[in-house]
């Protein structure tokens, strides 16, 4: 592994370099298991950052942002994709498997236990009302999360137009997601096609907070 970027502190970089060479699979599993078990109410990505960058020192902040950036562009959940990338970088395919298994196990067990209880009592009015209240609260939560993540997109043209077109296509016109991605996705990428006369500004990417880095450290 080559050296980390200059703005990283010396301790963090040497930590990352020495530790990453010999991280045991059990250790990878444990760290992701912790993040997967403690993250009640979502925000798994923030917990992962805490564990991977701050406590274990396996990743520099740059590494983490780079992993997050890849995760966001690919389909799938960001937290799971980050687990795959980090596990793969630390220990290859077995590392990725250990990371994903650790991250998902607590939530899977929790959901299945609750689900079995629900299965027995789903005709109970109180249980039913409790779950409906959760869904109503989740609707408010999702609205705020969408607004916050999309702050840049909904305040600038042509992004706002693409956000609206995507929303209307799915929610009002009930167009299949595959066609929406093929149609609007392709159009949107074409709108942002490389253009020599117009330097691209990465600042408005929704989740991107770190400085721009054009190489990904393996």
């Amino acid at each position: 592994m080559d050296s980390v970027t200059p703005q990283q502190s010396g301790t963090a970089s040497s930590n990352a370099t020495s530790k990453a060479a010999s991280v045991p699979l059990g250790e990878i599993f444990k760290v992701f298991f912790m993040a997967g078990a403690i993250s009640f109410g979502g925000g798994v990505v923030a917990y992962l950052r805490e564990y991977l960058v701050r406590s274990s020192g396996w990743l520099s902040d740059e590494d983490f942002m780079s992993a997050l950036e890849i995760s966001e562009t690919l389909p799938g959940l960001n937290s799971v994709n980050i687990a795959v990338i980090t596990g793969d970088d630390l220990r290859g395919v077995p590392g990725a498997a250990a990371a994903v298994a650790g991250l998902m196990l607590p939530g899977a067990v929790f959901v299945m236990v609750l689900g079995l209880l629900w299965n027995q009592s789903r005709h109970n009015v109180t249980v039913s009302h409790f779950l409906l209240g959760i869904a109503a609260a989740a609707a408010g939560l999702l609205l705020v999360v969408s607004l916050q993540l999309g702050k840049q997109q909904i305040s600038k043209f042509p992004d706002l137009f693409i956000v609206l077109a995507t929303f209307l296509a799915v929610s009002v016109f009930k167009i299949s997601l595959a066609w929406v991605l093929i149609g609007i996705g392709t159009l949107s990428i074409w709108l942002y096609r490389p253009h020599p006369a117009r330097p691209q500004a990465p600042e408005h990417l929704p989740f991107h907070r770190g400085p721009r880095h054009n190489h990904y450290r393996r």
Binding site: G36, S39, G42, G43, V44, I70, L74, P75, G76, L77, N78, S79, V80, N81, V84, I85, V100, A108, F110, V111, M112, L114, G115, N119, R122, T126, F130, L131, L132, G133, I134, A135, A136, A137, A138, A139, G140, L141, L142, V144, S146, G150, Q153, I154, D159, L160, I162, V163, T166, S171, S176, V180, G185, S188, W190, P194, Q200, P202, L205, Y216
Partner: protein, 180 residues
């Protein structure tokens, strides 16, 4: 392995690959697929989603319960693998190839182009959950208790950060009290 189980697996493989923008983005399609192609009801979909909201970890573990509800324990296993494995394999491949695209201006075009689509899909996911919870599923009339809960949660989160896990539990309790 019966046909229903294979179909269930294939549907979730498709959802997995289409999940650009994460779990919320794929909710409308998941609801449509499980309600129209399988015998899940809108209310069951909503309840399973709610159970997923109180669990820790990645926010789509609810898919296991959809599989369990439709095809038992083996259904949970099939759906779990079908929904998570394809994305993991894609990410693994991309992680190893990504560096080759590092200098390509197209990589940035894809990122910038997909960002507003992903946000639009998140709003669509929000709308799907709102439609299941803020109007009565039976007759589509407004459910004012649920609307009040959603409004208070929205206002609270715009005002300050509160752990969403606490907010959803308060929301559930509030609905029980309001409709007693």
């Amino acid at each position: 392995m019966n046909w229903q189980l294979i179909k269930l697996g294939l549907v979730f493989v498709m959802l997995s690959v289409l999940a650009v923008g994460g779990g919320t983005a794929v909710l409308p399609e998941m609801q449509h697929a499980t309600v129209h192609w399988f015998n899940l009801t809108d209310k069951q979909f909503r309840d399973i989603y709610s159970i997923g909201q109180v669990a820790p970890g990645p926010n789509m573990m609810m898919v296991l319960l959809i599989g369990y509800r439709l095809a038992g324990a083996i259904g949970a296993v099939v759906v779990g693998i079908a929904f998570f494995l394809p994305d993991c394999v894609l990410t693994l491949a991309a992680n190893r190839l990504w560096i080759r695209f590092a200098g390509s201006p197209w990589r940035q075009s894809v990122q910038q182009g997909l960002a507003p689509v992903a946000i639009g899909l998140m709003f669509a996911g929000t709308y799907a959950i709102a439609k299941l919870s803020l109007v009565h599923v039976s007759d589509q009339t407004p459910d004012f208790a649920a609307i009040a809960i959603a409004a208070v949660v929205t206002a609270t989160l715009l005002w300050r950060h509160v752990n969403p896990g606490i907010l959803v539990l308060v929301g559930g309790s509030a609905y029980v009290l309001l409709t007693r």
